[in-house]
Amino acid sequence: MGKLDGKVAYITGIARGQGRSHAIELAKEGADIIGIDLAAAPAAINYPGATEADLAETVRLVEETGRRIVVTKADVRDYAAQKAAVDAGVAEFGRLDIVVANAGIFTVAPAHELSEEVWDEVIEINLTGVWKTCKATIPHLKAGGRGGSIILTSSISGIKADPNFAHYIASKHGVSGLMKALALELADDNIRVNTVNPTNVNTPMIRNESTYALFAPDLAPEDRTEEALAPRFSSLHAMDIPWVEVEDVSSAVVWLASDGARFVTGVQLPIDGGRLVL
């Protein structure tokens, strides 16, 4: 028996990385899954975008757990597309209980040198896209009358700042503000709203040349190996780890989604190897 038997979850950014892991772990606990992903590279990013093959692989991995999944290739910036995906998924599975607003991107530049295009894309995907996820899903959660759990993917950057990604930090702080307002607005409906706030996660979003350059500007590009970089990433953390794995974030998501967290709302949950207390 799973912790989430009979429940249905909607996940954005589901094709790979954290979103895929959340889908698999929620399914293992018994939830059916509705998912979307852009399955393409947004213009601003300089790491590979998710692909349709990635999305298909998520479907295969969820189905392997024995649960059902419906996915749509859609952009979180497109409210109509999110609403259509959610409405179709709820029609298929009959209910909605859990929302994981996970889709996000990351780029690097000093604040005053960011281009308008990059600022807008990061704010629109990481912040406005999350709100559109909430707008598309909350009516279903309320209509179900069974409460629910909304989990917004923030970041350690939703709590503290570092140089060279002001747009990302602004977007993730914004997510935290949205979470707190929603927690107040939805408490009477027994819909809980929280954020997960991971430090660096071992995904293509940080395992790429531009992030390595940020951490090792003194090294030649060919010397920016994982061995050379790991101690620098580790120095951010109280624990001796360079980054966390996607499963570590999924553990927090599963807990927040389950009745084990029935009285937990309005919190930011760091998964950070002790970065904040350092």
């Binding site: 704010i123 700042a161 990604f165 602004a170 702080h173 503000g177 979470m179 707190k180 107040l184």
Partner: protein, 281 residues
């Protein structure tokens, strides 16, 4: 008033009235020359009157009455070219820029899932992206001077707290605090300090209007200010319904002058104890 800002130049957005006007007049009183920006066009989603051209002219008059110069710019903070032009004008006329007060902001009231696309985009576009555009326009000018500087971003108690009917506003103001913390990191090496002021309710047109009274007193059909005041004050430790613009200007004055020379990366709450009564999670 000691002329602590004699010879300095400050850029204030949202300067036509309310907090922006009070900050501009205060900085002028301290001896700074000003460049003032405000939009005097109707902003479609807000439920209170937009600032007018006459408002902005009155701010110019009040600034000049302090014996300094004011450059008036009509423009929207969402328009990068308008902000770039305001800063370029300051550099042309005054040759430097030292202080930035990114104050322009709006609020609308709706449940987060009932906010319209237009409301969301206007609040994020003005309150968050507009502040970044102010930074983008002004930081190169401050850096070019090599004199350091002080950047003050107007946040809110909703920059670190939730609040019903304010999802878009809280998202925008939390975003401003994130931007502030990053900039404090990025600009400390150039002795440019970056801080937020975070007021609770301020007695301006944004707050003092019937739609806001109804949100605070949903039990009444047409509540008056007097009937709304106890609800306004219920969030505070101090027995105060709302602060005055001058209370926020006092914090801006401190952050703009060398009295705060070692203060950067902070959020200065002017909140009657709200954040102690309701600590942010």
């Amino acid at each position: 008033m000691d002329k602590l800002l004699e010879g300095k130049v400050a850029y204030v957005t949202g300067a036509a009235r309310g907090q922006g006007r009070a900050h501009a007049v205060r900085l002028a009183g301290l001896g700074a020359n000003l460049v003032l920006l405000d939009v005097v066009d109707f902003i479609p989603t807000i439920h209170y009157p937009s600032a007018t051209s006459a408002d902005l002219d009155e701010t110019v008059r009040l600034v000049e009455a302090q014996g300094v110069r004011a450059l008036k710019h009509v423009g929207d903070v969402r328009d990068q070219a308008a902000q770039d032009a305001a800063v370029a004008d300051a550099m042309k006329e005054f040759g430097r820029l030292d202080i930035v007060v990114a104050n322009a902001g709006i609020v609308t009231l709706a449940r987060a899932w009932e906010v319209t696309d237009e409301q969301w985009d206007e609040v994020i576009g003005i309150n968050l992206t507009g502040v970044w555009r102010t930074i983008r326009a002004s930081v190169p000018a401050i850096l070019a001077g090599g004199n350091g500087g002080s950047i003050i971003l107007t946040s809110s108690t909703n920059g670190h707290e939730g609040g019903q009917n304010l999802g878009h506003y809280a998202a925008s103001k939390h975003g401003v605090e994130g931007l502030m913390k990053t900039l404090a990191n990025e600009l400390a090496g150039d002795n440019i300090r970056v801080n937020c002021v975070a007021p609770t309710n301020v007695g301006t047109d944004m707050m003092l209007n019937p739609a806001t009274y109804r949100v605070f007193r949903p039990d009444l059909v047409a509540p008056t200010l007097e009937e709304a005041k106890p609800a306004f004050g219920s969030y505070h430790l101090l027995d105060v319904a709302y602060v005055d613009v001058e209370d926020v200007s006092n914090a801006v004055e401190y952050l703009a002058t060398d009295k705060s020379r070692y203060v950067t990366g902070t959020v200065m709450s002017i909140d009657c104890g709200l954040s102690v009564k309701y600590p942010a999670g």
